[in-house]
Amino acid sequence: MYKVVIGLEVHCEVQTNSKNFSSAPNEFTMTPNIHVAPVDLGLPGILPVVNEEACRKALKTAMALHCENPDEIIFDRKNYFYPDLPKGYQITQVTKPMGRNGYLDIKVGEKEKRVYIHQLHLEEDTASLDHYSNYSLIDYNRSGIPLMEIVTEPCISSAEEAVTFLEDLRDVFLFCEVSEARSNKGQMRCDVNISLTEEGSDKLGTKVEMKNINAFNSVKAAIEYEIKRQSELLDRGEKVIQETRRIDEDGKTYSMREKVDAVDYKYYVEPNLPPVKLTKEYLDGIRQTVPMLKLDRLHRYINEFHLSEYDATVLSKNKDIADYFENILLLGSDIELTVNFVTTSVLSSLKKLEIDLKDFFITEEMLSGVIDLVHQGKISLDHGKKILYQALEKKKDPRDIIKESHLEQINDEEKLLTYITEALEENPEQVRQYVEEGKDYVINYFIGKVMQKSNRQANPNITLELIKKELEKRRK
């Protein structure tokens, strides 16, 4: 058996209005070369100017990943020639990354694991290259878009862990609202470093690198393939070559290039970007916006709210849902009913309508209002849910629907008695059956009648008691 050691380098585009170092739009488009400022084209004489929002979001993510932040913002140049890199260098961070020495706790199956983060830094994306039969085309729209790179320590030991980490990291981006992190748009990409060592040996294995994998399931396939390939090599007593491998569609990897000598990127401090102090106030301001992460919320729901593991998982999975749920609780609504409404009515509506929560018509205040009426016994749970569906259909505040259709329950005994008396008088045969033959089921028959008469507003419990009483009176 071999011990698998995996490290990940994850790139994620940061969502901002403008690019990291220019005022051109950071926006996806199919039309080539329309979002390009002189800076993004590397024209002679250009100077980069740092986007505050990109820094803020990188710092926020670093905080969410429990990283240490630097005392000042500073950038470095990474020098290399490639046709997608118009300046001939990439502006990145080596000296003082936005975050260092952090971690993310993930849950793999039943087990929790802490994945250590080596660093998080802010850099810029390259231009995009499209390849054709015998030429390539360069589009500079992507050039300069802010990117965060998260580098883990080599502490991941299986494909499953790697994929869980990536999914959870994506949730961190979403929870922090720093990126849409859509891998199909290339907004989140990942390099995988993997090496195998003899179990129990303290010698490091040979590192194989797989670059630029977009989809999470490709990461899984690639890692599984590599573990198998490298194990077989080692079993046969052969050596693993240090190299960069590429992954094809069926998850097989093949050699791209051997690492003859590592590229020397000749990093040095970017002289055009003077250091900007990060004050405690500034960092504290960002820290206040850092949301609770998925796993923390899961723990809180179970331990503090006493939710079932199942409900807690469902509610903590998505930040918008979790926030929605928590906001309703903050409005003072009953926990149990809130869980019930959110996990059933809300989630099934979202699924049926195929929309995100942000496009959902029912606000926290609206739902809280309905839940409270149910809790106070003024409407039944069933009615509450029905009203919710009506509200969605009519795009109308459910609380108004309740008011307008007088759907609030009738608890007034006198009012209920008039319905009951009417019903009994209209149906002498059923009264006779109860009085003379002792047939209890006619009670339900009368409840139904009262419901009809009261436009389904009669309080069923009170109605039941009153009907019993009235029928008993007639027995005598």
């Binding site: 051109a24 070369n33 986007n51 000042e72 589009d139 003077p274």
Partner: protein
């Protein structure tokens, strides 16, 4: 400094020079490396914090995240000085990774 090494450095910078130019460069390397060796002898040099900016005042402010339309080039401007253009993009020989 061996000439072959210098050639390798030049090639990594994506250009070549004539033989005699490498020879001039060899002499220059000798001079500058000799001078830099002297620098290494300055006492406690290692304890000095390297200076990357003429001065640091912490006056610089980060840029507000705004798109400024008139700083965005037209596609025509992006490609104005490019000699090989196809479909509004820069055309190069096929890039093989």
């Amino acid at each position: 400094m061996e000439k072959e090494k210098l050639k390798d450095y030049a090639h990594k910078l994506m250009f070549d020079m004539k033989e005699e130019e490498y020879e001039t460069l060899q002499q220059e390397f000798d001079i500058i490396l000799k001078q830099m060796d002297l620098i290494g002898e300055i006492p406690n040099i290692k304890e000095v914090e390297p200076m990357h900016f003429p001065y640091v005042t912490y006056e610089a402010k980060l840029r507000k995240d705004e798109v400024i339309e008139n700083e965005v080039l037209t596609t025509g401007e992006v490609l104005a000085n490019c000699e090989h253009v196809l479909n509004d993009q820069v055309k190069v020989p096929k890039v093989v990774e």
